[in-house]
Amino acid sequence: MTATLAPAPRKPKAAKRFRAFWRRWWHQLTAMRTALVLLLALALAAIPGSTFPQRSISTVDVAGYFDEHPDLAPWLDRLWAFDVYTSPWFSAIYLLLMISLAGCIVPRLGVHWKALRAKVPDAPKRMSILPYHRVLDVDANQGRARAVLKQRRWRTAVTEHEDGTFVIAAEKGYLRETGNLLFHTSIIFVLAGVAVGSLMSWYGNRILSEDKSYCNNLQQYDEYGLGAWVDETSLPRFCVTLDAFDAEFTDGGPTAYDAAVTYETAGETGKYDLQVNHPLNIDGTNVFLIGHGYTAVVTYTDRYGQTQTLHQEFLAMDAALNSEGAFKFPDANVDPETGTVDANAEVGFDAILVPTFDDSTAMLLGTDPELNNPVLALTAYTGDLGLGDGEPESVYSVNEEQIASGALTRLNEEVEVIGVGDAMTLPDGTTLTFDGVEQYAVLQVRHDPGGPVVLAGAVLLLLGLLPGLAVRRRRYWIRWNPDGTVETAGLNRNDFDGLDEECDELTAAIAPDYEPPGTHTDKSGSEQ
């Protein structure tokens, strides 16, 4: 800009220009057209969030994407493709939209406030320029006009001119702008609630087998997330026990899950029948039932006759709840006399749990999620399970690297399928017995103080939207001229039909002898 190079005396002018520049930008930003562009930009910006896996939904899926596209993924990550809804570019668009919105609402609030208290403006001199205009050839009574308008809740203003002209001006439909402003304001409310939520909410997911308990602290969750302002030591104290889990099936599909839980908080205990769609509320923290699965119970008897029983949760692979999991016995085969551990005599099993095995077909996997004939399909390994190396690893499978490196030896070529009560015998004579199947529930615990704000905002949004769209703002005038004629006129302040009909009807109510011109006959639109 040349202004910055200008000599000192011109400085005030530069400041002025600077202000003018910003004013122009502010005008631009708060213009309807900008809102339009920003809305469309927001729609566009939301798309990548559905095409790329999002960290906020599933970190596992994001990791999977990295595995599949090792070259592309880091670049996408730099563009926040896996965190679209918290990305700077997405935030920039909606923040601009919010600023634009606020900049739009505030002046309109002022204008509307004034309009609500202002007098309805007088009729224009030439009423015939208005979209609805009639010159009455019948009598109209002034008192009756006022009564009719008042009864129909028009806001009226009466003006008597010096030349004897008498005007009643009426206006209706202020609720439209009220609704519109309420609607736009509540968008900001909803967003504020979302913001509060993302800062102050926390959640944890926990897989809980029958007869097991857990307490509300982060160490006991399988997965959790904390808002930026949440102090993990201040989470409310409570514990939950899963007493029983019941899944109902009809025609091969689940129809109801039912988790009987006992909860304990500050010395109080209670029982609750937790179901999908029926969360348990503990002092504003909700416990949701979001899934379920099977827990296989097995007993391993080692070379020395020592037994270990495992309750192992399995991960569903499909809708029929064919599930995968692993049994690991890192401290098996410890010589009870010497107490020495043979690091290469650890035992592990990869397993598939089939809830309803159909032995009349060659298929291992079943099609029925209900426990009608559960079997385990097992592959046994012995050697070093690799659990001691400190690397985190899946509890649902035996470490593949150990198998690949030869640290684990596979003991059976073909998977061995055993039913409940049966046992698989390994070459060294040790056995794995399939004791039975239990169920587990997947619980999600969530506290979101922004939720009620969002809900209130959403309700206000709807309440504002209805009148904001349905109500029409319109004006009506009736004028007694000094020459004895009576004129009426109407003006739509929103783009809607029906002005003529309404005004004619009003005029007829005021002047009962008035007969609207025959405009209705050719307006039926459809011909029959």
Binding site: M32, L36, L42, S50, V194, L455, L465, L466, S526, Q528
Partner: protein, 320 residues
């Protein structure tokens, strides 16, 4: 015949009836020259210019009177087909003992019903000319045809869908989608007619498919009808999305998860908000508004089909 078979038979009957209705409307549309002079809901908009071709009725193979008879038949068939469609849905409800919105097929059929009911309400109120039923039945029959591709046996619901919120949320979404379908039809008709008018005033030749627009009502009136339908549907769509968030809170523990279905519902809502703004943002934006409305419906359709079939999400089990 089992309940499911009866429902399917009624469904097939619906498609056949709508096809017959479409044909009847086409006859009226093509041969009732008189109607070209009429405006759609005259209020506000200027009446259509009298640009009906000078061709005399006697030259046409079907007289205008017969053509109007065909139109009336089309309307009766539309009512019958819609009754059959409703009966098909009710039969499914009786057979399955649950609300009929449990999978993608049922959802699509619901959209078709909502669209047709919207149309019939408009015609019955005299807001639109009967012969435009040609386009409404066409659009709805396309939707029904699509639903066949995703046909699912009537069966029970998975637990998360077993909630009264499904009734509220899905019913609102279906109703909004059905009404918006008709809104989209009007947006397209408006664009056609506008283009036709421009070509005509420029003296350019008018070829298929533009010549269809000859007997459409006034472009302005079509635009206003488009707007009215969208104004009616938008709060319903908004309510449907909000009810979905409430349901998500109970079923999945969070009210908004940016699940693909939610993302695309959000996009559709934002696009429709943009449409409503475009209409009051000056002349050029208003001229583009019908395109934004069509874009909005494209997003709705995408959300109904591709998102269910392609993207994995929490909503996918509500799908096929």
């Amino acid at each position: 015949m089992t309940g499911a078979e009866a429902a399917n038979a009624l469904f097939v009957a619906t498609i056949l009836t709508y096809a017959a209705a479409m044909f009847s409307y086409a006859v009226e549309y093509a041969f009732d020259k008189r109607v070209a002079k009429r405006a759609l809901v005259a209020a506000g908009g200027a009446d259509a210019p009298d640009d009906a071709p000078a061709e005399s009725p006697s030259e046409a193979p079907i007289s205008p009177v017969a053509a109007r008879g065909a139109g009336r038949l089309g309307l009766v068939l539309t009512f019958l087909g819609t009754a059959a469609l409703a009966a098909s849905i009710v039969t499914r409800v009786v057979y399955t003992g649950r609300w009929p919105w449990g999978n993608m097929f049922e959802y699509t059929v619901g959209v078709a019903l909502a669209g047709m009911v919207t149309w019939l309400v408009l015609v019955s109120r005299g807001s639109v000319p009967r012969r435009l039923g040609l386009f409404a039945t066409f659009a709805v029959t396309m939707v029904l045809g699509t639903s066949v591709r995703v046909y699912t046996e009537a069966g029970p619901l998975v637990p998360a869908l077993d909630s009264y919120w499904i009734v509220i949320h899905v019913t609102a979404a279906i109703a909004a989608s059905g009404i918006l379908l008709i809104g989209c039809v009007f947006a397209i008709l408006h664009l056609l007619k506008r283009r036709y008018d421009r070509q005509r005033s420029d003296g350019k030749p008018i070829r298929f498919p533009l010549n269809i627009a000859e007997r459409l009502p006034d472009a302005n009136a079509l635009e206003r009808m488009t707007f009215k339908i969208h104004v009616f549907a938008f709060p319903l769509l908004t309510f449907g999305i909000l009810a979905g968030a409430v349901w998500a809170h109970f079923a999945w523990g969070r009210y908004w998860n940016w699940d693909p279905k939610e993302v695309w519902a959000f996009i559709a809502w934002v696009v429709y908000a943009a449409y409503l703004h475009a209409r009051v943002s000056g002349r050029s934006a208003k001229a583009n508004a019908p395109w934004i409305a069509i874009l909005g419906y494209a997003v709705m359709l995408f959300n109904l089909t591709a998102v269910n079939l392609v993207f994995a999400g929490l909503h996918s089990y509500a799908g096929v």
